[in-house]
Symmetry: C2
């Protein structure tokens, strides 16, 4: 039997654990897996593009576990009352090939994306960072805010979205967070005085959310929204002026902000910073940029964390996804003797 | 909500429909999809190899539906009482990216593989074929026998496996089939007088199940077992002497019997035969070979058939694999207001 964690059980689990604790523990798994990066089989995601969106499979494996995520990206969905991004994932046993865990990953992806951003920022942002700007107040925004509060000690937010309704939704959700929130009238206004700038807009097109004159020395930019070909948020001048950190260069050069740059544009792999093989922030004046696109190992970490967390609990149920005849060669017998 | 068809419900469905009717209807979907081959997005499967086996993702899509299958292949599993191959699959809406159907596919793959073999043989075997040899009496063998009985009118089987227990299992399962079955003492003996020869052995290594001197004029060879790099069943001389038909050449040249042959070894694509763009069997003397490795469109056809079949029935249940917040931008709200 395969363990199944659906939306209702994941919500129950996050509420039971507490979202901040969940994000902190998840961040631990993500950082542990980044630190053993060479152990993973890594391929760029396998994308199926259509006129309105994309459906992707993101597999990875170490020597013990295999994981993959199914995820779509359909910006026009929002207009039809649907999610832009939905996802689910599976963790399997490399030794037998049997699936072990099936989980919803729409919520889990939002949690792992925010946790990954915070993990990166712990290595790249100034340690005295307290003010974060968030540009783009869609489905991912509250997760980012909560992760940076829980893992970085952010106390103040300056937020902006082109849609005032999105800002109202954000403020309502963050009302009891303890964060001091200022809603800005523009991106320019939002970034004033911010130690960290998180861009997390959703449109599938080249946008310029941040221009070079908006970025002061010492800022860390957490660029989350630019994550597929043709979708960027930062002006190229910012990338040239700052130092860019990436998850998996082969994928980021296609999907990330650096798709705007020459193929040999210098980047630093995040895992090299975590293992001490490359410097993260070097001075208080550095502009650091985490060009986040989301990589399969982060989903693997999230599924691995979830599996450990739900084992022997009622936050999972068993489903009969795998046929288990008594004699493995007698699959046909299932049809006559079930 | 996503429709879920687990093992128990698929078994109930096949028993309800009848396995022969199920195979006939499934074969119709498979042939329909082969006939519209150019409409599909086609990529070779994405494989993750380990020392003991492989885990693969097999995606495909037309303009309306996206499908993928997860499948493993671990020959050593049998010794541990586990299936060599397990699988599950998903069908999604290209327009929204939302998953529609999740199904077990261990049984369904066995059914679609047999149905595909029979579909190919309808175009390639002599129409008066009544005797089939089956070499290898593992998990797939009874499905092949049943499909060829239902779709080709095979009446007599000559079967062989190195393991006598496998032959006993096969005969017990086929006891009420109406097929006349002779258990042979060797592969050589099994193929005597056969119109069709099905090879479906399981070991992951280059084997020579059939040699050229075993093959008479007019025979159709349904080569099912050679399906991954390093795993073949036919001697190269047979391939040179006969005419070879394949699903997706890019994949078959890596995984099929023709991995033994030069890169430009001539093959005919099965869909070209179905649409009349290429000849199938030309004379009663032709040796035809279906070098089957299994392709993603066949799984797509099976999932499409299953979805049509279980709609508005109790052969499926709904599961909460996809988060569905009322306001799609308010994913976070699920955690506070579920």
């Amino acid at each position: 039997m395969v363990q199944y964690v659906g939306v209702e059980n994941l919500v129950r689990l996050v509420r039971h654990v507490g979202i901040k604790t969940f994000l902190q523990e998840l961040a631990g798994y993500i950082e542990d897996d980044f630190r053993r990066w060479p152990e993973f089989e890594k391929v760029s995601r396998i994308a199926s593009h259509s006129s309105d969106g994309v459906i992707e499979l993101m597999p990875t494996a170490d020597s013990v576990l295999y994981g993959f995520k199914y995820v779509n990206g359909h910006p026009k969905n929002t207009r039809e009352g649907l999610q832009t991004v939905t996802a689910f994932g599976v963790l399997s046993d490399v030794n037998t090939g049997y699936p072990l865990l099936l989980s919803e990953m729409t919520l889990l992806t939002a949690l792992r994306t925010a946790a990954t951003s915070a993990v990166a920022a712990r290595h790249l942002a100034r340690s005295d960072s307290r003010v974060m700007a968030i540009i783009g107040l869609g489905a991912q925004s509250e997760f980012q805010a909560t992760a940076f509060q829980a893992l970085l000690g952010i106390t103040h937010l300056r937020v902006y979205d082109v849609d005032p309704d999105a800002a109202r939704k954000f403020c309502a959700n963050m009302n009891d967070s303890g964060l001091v929130i200022a809603v800005a009238g523009s991106s320019h206004e939002a970034v004033q005085g911010a130690d960290i700038i998180t861009t997390v807009t959703a449109d599938k097109l080249k946008a310029t959310i941040l221009t070079d004159n908006m970025i002061g020395a010492g800022v860390h930019i957490n660029a989350v929204g630019g994550d597929c070909p043709g979708k960027t948020e930062l002006h190229a001048d910012i990338l040239s002026r700052g130092r860019v950190f990436v998850e998996f260069p082969e994928q980021t050069r296609i999907e990330g902000e650096i798709q705007q740059m020459p193929e040999d544009f210098p980047v630093t792999e995040l895992w090299h910073v975590m293992t001490g093989e490359a410097p993260g922030r070097r001075t208080e004046q550095d502009i650091t940029i985490f060009d986040s696109v989301g990589f399969a190992t982060e989903d693997f970490s999230a599924l691995r964390y979830l599996r450990d967390k739900v084992r022997d609990t009622d936050f999972q149920v068993e489903i009969d996804l795998v046929a288990e005849p008594k004699d493995p060669r007698d699959l046909f017998g299932l049809l006559t003797r079930y």
